[in-house]
């Protein structure tokens, strides 16, 4: 299998970020909340990225923060995916009132922007990691539901699914053997996009002070902690931008590749 260069770069970067998140304890030169120097020291041999607003090593904060951000985003994505795609498939295959109920419910949830919904809920719930994951996962599941339902409805009307029905196949065979293999690629690509969205979402919440709470590090929080430095020309708060943007772009590249690979299998009109 040939992997195009863009996808390869994307894979390498994505992999590197995940490895860094998993092995943060080994990679980070200092502890997460360890104060090791002066306030906002510039980059040096000891502190490659300098220090933050209270003298913690920024590189270590970034690595630990990456762990939190990637963990929360991954957990939320897994939740939204499992919930959204299962309900989406059920709605598509069962149709009728089940579909109506689920679809209208999702319409309602999507009638309020996700960030606003999250803020409303977080105004009464304790802001802890499980709550954040739950809220983000549930809100994002609506989008996964819409996509997987649409994909499954498209596939369910195909003659090969009808042929399986006429053969007398059970519903589990139809979902897992006829529909799922054909729905997988768009869903995997969407999973990448949902993951990026979750990264941006948790970062935004943390920046607003309503996400990951200090002293736990995360990328959005690092911006919040160091934003006062900006007006003095200290770019510490901008470092997460580089991390978020490179992660987002590399996941995007991988998702594009997965999606392109699918269309090559679907062709087959000619010949």
């Amino acid at each position: 299998m040939r992997i195009p260069i863009a996808a390869l770069i994307g894979l390498i970067f994505t992999g590197a970020y995940f490895l860094a998140a998993i092995f943060a304890g080994l990679l980070a030169p200092y502890g997460m909340a360890e104060i090791v120097g002066d306030v906002w020291e510039p980059a040096s041999a000891e502190h490659w990225l300098g220090t933050d607003s209270i003298g913690r090593d920024l590189l270590s904060r970034m690595i630990w923060g990456g762990q939190t951000t990637i963990f929360v985003a991954t957990a939320a994505t897994i939740l939204s995916f499992t919930l959204g795609s299962i309900l989406g498939f059920i709605a598509a295959v069962r149709g009728g009132w089940v579909d109506q109920l689920l679809s209208r419910g999702v319409d309602l949830m999507m009638s309020i922007p996700s960030l606003i919904s999250a803020l409303v809920v977080l105004s009464v719930m304790p802001v802890t990691l499980p709550v954040l994951i739950l809220v983000m996962g549930l809100l994002d599941a609506t989008r996964v539901f819409r996509l997987s339902r649409a994909v499954a409805v498209d596939i369910a009307v195909m003659d090969y699914v009808e042929a399986a029905r006429l053969r007398g196949e059970k519903q589990t065979w139809i979902i897992f053997r006829e529909i799922l293999p054909n729905a997988l690629s768009p869903l995997v690509a969407e999973m990448g996009l949902r993951f990026i969205f979750s990264v941006l979402f948790i970062s935004t919440l943390s920046f607003l002070g309503l996400g990951v709470q200090p002293p736990l590090a995360d990328w959005g929080g690092i911006v919040k902690e160091n934003k006062e430095g900006i007006v003095y020309g200290i770019p510490a708060a901008l470092i997460p931008a580089v991390a978020i943007a490179t992660l987002a772009i590399s996941v995007n590249l991988v998702a594009d590749w997965v999606l392109n690979r699918t269309t090559s299998l679907k062709g087959g009109r000619g010949g």
């Binding site: 606003i116 809920v121 943007a245």
Partner: protein, 318 residues
């Protein structure tokens, strides 16, 4: 009744119903979920008596549906309740802020909509050539960075390094329009950047879809000039999808505003909402949530209405 009018009435009624359902959702989200508002306000050290008094004062001992209808009844009469934290009337505090937010969103829309459509047209005109690629690369980069970071990058470069634009967007009524626009130039820039990417990509796709229709080929084979083809054949069919794109993204702008206001300390709705979420001031959160949902649903209704009006099949039934 003309069928199209019926369709429009239906669509608008559906939107209002959705808004009503959204109000239930917001109310449920803030009352049924675990988490004691009274406890949150008074803190862990509060005495049981104090908690009970506050609950009584907030009407929290009534059944949920009674409280909902009381709240909704108030909202319909323009009474959004009073803030827990400072006891001020929410509608009064919100008025000026809502105006400020709409002012900011309006100017962001004024800049971003023509720009996005223009860039979308350029990308279509030079499809798969370098202008298209440059535009799509830049827009991919802007959508990969969250709004608040775009904000700080803009502040870092434009206010701190070049000292060209103000980093705080303070406005008040005594300022002239020019001064106000100068003050909000950075937040507008950031909002434009956040919506531009999506809007431009979706516009490009919508126009491309129209340009690839068979009737455009028919027009080319009639020997019509490129401008005539776009003006007479592509434009009338592209209105609906483009308006849809624009509305969807303006709705997205409403969300972007929340974060951007916090970054630039702009006295608008977003800042108001975020402050009171942190203070767990539920009545304010409910009111803000409802206003944002109303704007969002309203944008979507407008998008639907335009696409119904622009559809010749609906305008001229068989």
């Amino acid at each position: 009744m003309h069928p199209i009018l019926k369709l429009l009435v239906q669509r608008i009624a559906l939107g209002l119903l959705l808004l009503l359902a959204a109000s239930v959702l917001i109310f449920v989200g803030t009352t049924v979920l675990p988490g004691d508002v009274a406890q949150n306000i008074l803190g862990q050290g509060a005495t049981p008596q104090a908690l009970e008094n506050l609950r009584q004062q907030l009407g929290m001992n009534d059944p949920a549906h009674v409280r909902y209808f009381n709240w909704l009844g108030g909202v319909l009469q323009g009474d959004l309740g009073t803030a827990l934290t400072n006891g001020q009337d929410i509608a009064t505090s919100m008025g000026q802020r809502l105006g400020n937010t709409l002012f900011l969103a309006f100017w962001a829309a004024v800049v971003s909509v023509p720009l996005a459509i223009g860039l979308g047209l350029i990308a279509v005109r030079y499809r798969n050539r370098w202008p298209d690629k440059v535009i799509s690369t830049i827009t991919l980069a802007t959508v990969s960075v969250p709004e608040f970071l775009l904000g700080y990058i803009a502040i870092f470069i434009l206010s701190v390094q070049f000292r060209a634009l103000p980093s705080l967007a303070m406005i008040n009524e005594s300022m002239s329009l020019g001064e106000q626009l100068y003050a909000i130039s950075l937040p507008v820039l950031v909002l434009v950047l956040t919506v531009l990417g999506h809007m431009m990509r979706m516009t490009r796709a919508a126009i491309l879809n129209v340009m690839q229709s068979a009737y455009i080929e028919t027009a080319e084979l009639k020997g019509l000039a490129p401008f005539t083809i776009i003006y007479r054949h592509a434009f009338p069919n592209a209105i609906a999808p483009v308006v849809n794109v624009v509305m969807l993204n303006l709705a997205y702008l409403v969300v972007g505003v929340v974060v951007v206001e916090v970054v630039f300390v702009y006295p608008g709705m977003g800042q108001y909402l975020v402050d009171h979420v942190a203070k767990r001031d539920v009545p304010v959160v409910q009111a803000c949530g409802l206003v944002f949902a109303a704007v969002y649903i309203g944008m979507n209704i407008i998008a639907d209405v335009v696409s119904i009006l622009a559809n010749p099949r609906l305008r001229h039934p068989k």
